[in-house]
């Protein structure tokens, strides 16, 4: 039963990893951009939420009403005025530029907020739990986090396959030259994709910051978790990304159960094992 509990908690944490991964997967899918600063942007969103909760006196979830649009605006501008210039040829320029961005964000946060760790306080919800049995219980916060992850992935799926914006994303991803021929401005489409990605980053950042302590240096590890979830799930498949997050979360939970020091290692081993056995991930992109 203790095992069942660990696995259950792993599944729920997987929702957070899926949130890390969704934005990453989205921009890779639309414009083949690997955003090394993704994790640091998650941490940036956490700090912005911290400032918002402190100055406005609102709760972390409420702060998202401000932080998500703000991060989306940052994403649009970042893509439009910086990252678009790096696209089109080699995979290397965007990697280098986003790596530089990662360093800049980390140092900027360190400068402003110091290296002290912080946490967002969400109030009663943090301690609320539902006991399923005496050994098995679900925390309200992890449950909410998982539900939000499912909603975000479901929302993205709907947007991609049921809306004009999603159609534009898929067309531009298929063939950027021909997309221009039908009247799509790639620079704008890419900027919209990054805006959406960073709106999801805002949600991920708030859940990250409510769940545990954070400081300016933890971004790169979130990037790794996001990457691993994307690869395990299979590139370009949104529900696969959720499954990838869950697999990673469960692997970490099992590792931690065996020995607390093994938590992260177990996640990486699971990732490498999937990469070795199924390099295309469990749920590769649906081919038409």
């Amino acid at each position: 039963m203790e095992w069942a509990n660990s696995i259950l908690q792993g599944v729920l944490v997987g929702g957070l990893y899926a949130l890390f991964a969704a934005g990453l997967s989205l921009i890779f899918g639309v414009m083949r951009l690997v955003n090394i600063a993704h994790g640091d942007l998650i941490v940036l969103a956490a700090y912005l939420a911290l400032v918002a909760t402190q100055t406005l006196g609102v709760g972390p979830m409420t702060s998202l009403l401000l932080i998500a649009p703000l991060m989306a605006a940052i994403g649009y501008a970042l893509q439009r005025f910086l990252l678009n210039q790096t696209l089109g040829g080699d995979l290397l320029p965007p990697l280098l530029v986003t790596f530089g961005l990662s360093v800049i964000i980390q140092n900027g946060l360190l400068e402003i907020f110091t290296a002290n760790s912080r946490k967002l306080q969400a109030g009663d919800i943090e301690v609320a739990t539902w006991a399923i049995s005496d050994k098995l219980s679900i925390g309200a916060l992890p449950a909410l986090q998982f539900a939000v992850a499912v909603a975000v992935i479901g929302g993205l799926q709907w947007l991609f396959y049921r809306t004009a914006m999603g159609r534009a994303f898929r067309a531009t991803s298929d063939d950027p030259q021909t997309a221009q021929l039908v009247g799509l401005d790639n620079r704008h489409v890419f900027a919209l994709a990054m805006a959406l990605s960073l709106a999801i980053v805002a949600i991920a950042g708030v859940f990250l910051a409510v769940r545990a302590n954070f400081d300016p240096a933890i971004g790169p590890a979130r990037l790794i978790f996001g990457f691993e979830a994307v690869i395990i799930g299979g590139l370009g498949n949104l529900w696969g990304t959720l499954a990838g997050g869950v697999i990673l979360g469960v692997a970490q939970a099992i590792g931690a159960k065996i020995d607390p020091g093994w938590q992260l290692l177990a996640g990486h081993i699971a990732f490498l094992a999937v990469l070795a056995v199924r390099p295309e991930g469990f749920f590769p992109r649906v081919k038409h």
Binding site: A164, R167, A168, R170, A171, S173, D174, D175, Q177, T178, A179, Q180, L181, V182, G183, L184, D185, N186, H288
Partner: protein, 235 residues
């Protein structure tokens, strides 16, 4: 006095790096006219269409469309201006269904008589196959999607690059049969075609390109086979 030209190209050069593909090409197309561009492989036909559609750099004043200098503008802005290209090889979006490929053609937002219902009336099979992935269609049906997608942008000028390539004669006949109906709505059509006889039969005027230069221009029913053959091969 004929209508003022819809499209006026003057002394257009085009380059791929150091390689010059077009040399001082000049031509004009009238509103509602069907205009043929013929020439051997590598003559520069696709390059010419790509220059008009904004897929090649071009000097601003070398291409005048509807009274505006459009040379070198980005493709997405030119299609909003009213020039639609049916690209060589069709270039449908594989992850979009047939219907989505059509709908995305209207992305530029130009108003006009063409819409999903009208293009499906023009090519009824596209309504039957609306939900299927575009890649599951036959070559001829895919070509119909490509033409219909371009029409969805409500162009004043439709550029068709080798719409008969790789298709059976029957299918080619069906596709060419709709061109007069499209032109009747006031849309000018430029067709690039390898099959010279078909191009001459379908068009009012023709130019022949050879090695990036206009080597023959005239009314399609006036030019003789011998003239075209001489221009085509440069003998």
């Amino acid at each position: 006095m004929p209508d003022a030209p819809l499209l006026e190209i003057s002394r257009l050069d085009a380059f791929y790096g150091d390689f010059q593909a077009l040399f001082s090409v000049s031509l004009d197309i009238a509103p509602g006219e069907i205009f043929a561009i013929v020439g051997a492989n590598g003559a520069g036909k696709s390059t010419l269409l790509k220059s008009i559609a904004g897929q090649m750099p071009a000097p601003t004043e070398s291409i005048l469309f509807d009274g505006e200098k459009i040379g070198g503008r980005p493709a997405f802005s030119i299609v909003r201006q009213g020039v639609a290209l049916v690209p060589e090889g069709r270039r449908l979006f594989p992850s979009l269904s047939v219907e989505e490929n059509l709908l995305i053609g209207a992305q530029g937002g130009r108003k006009g008589e063409w819409n999903l219902r009208r293009v499906q009336e023009l090519f009824p099979v596209l309504a039957e196959r609306a939900r299927q992935p575009s890649a599951s269609l036959s070559g001829g049906q895919q070509q119909m999607v490509a033409i219909a997608r371009a029409l969805m942008s409500n162009p004043k000028l439709l550029l068709c690059d080798e719409i008969s390539l790789g298709l059976s004669p029957l299918v080619v006949r069906d596709i060419y049969a709709v061109l007069p109906a499209i032109a009747a709505g006031g849309v000018a059509i430029a067709i690039v075609e390898q099959d010279v006889a078909r191009a001459l039969a379908a068009s009012r005027r023709v130019v022949c390109l050879r090695e990036g230069r206009v080597v023959l221009a005239g009314l399609s029913h006036d030019v003789t086979r011998a003239e075209v053959a001489a221009a085509y091969f440069g003998v």
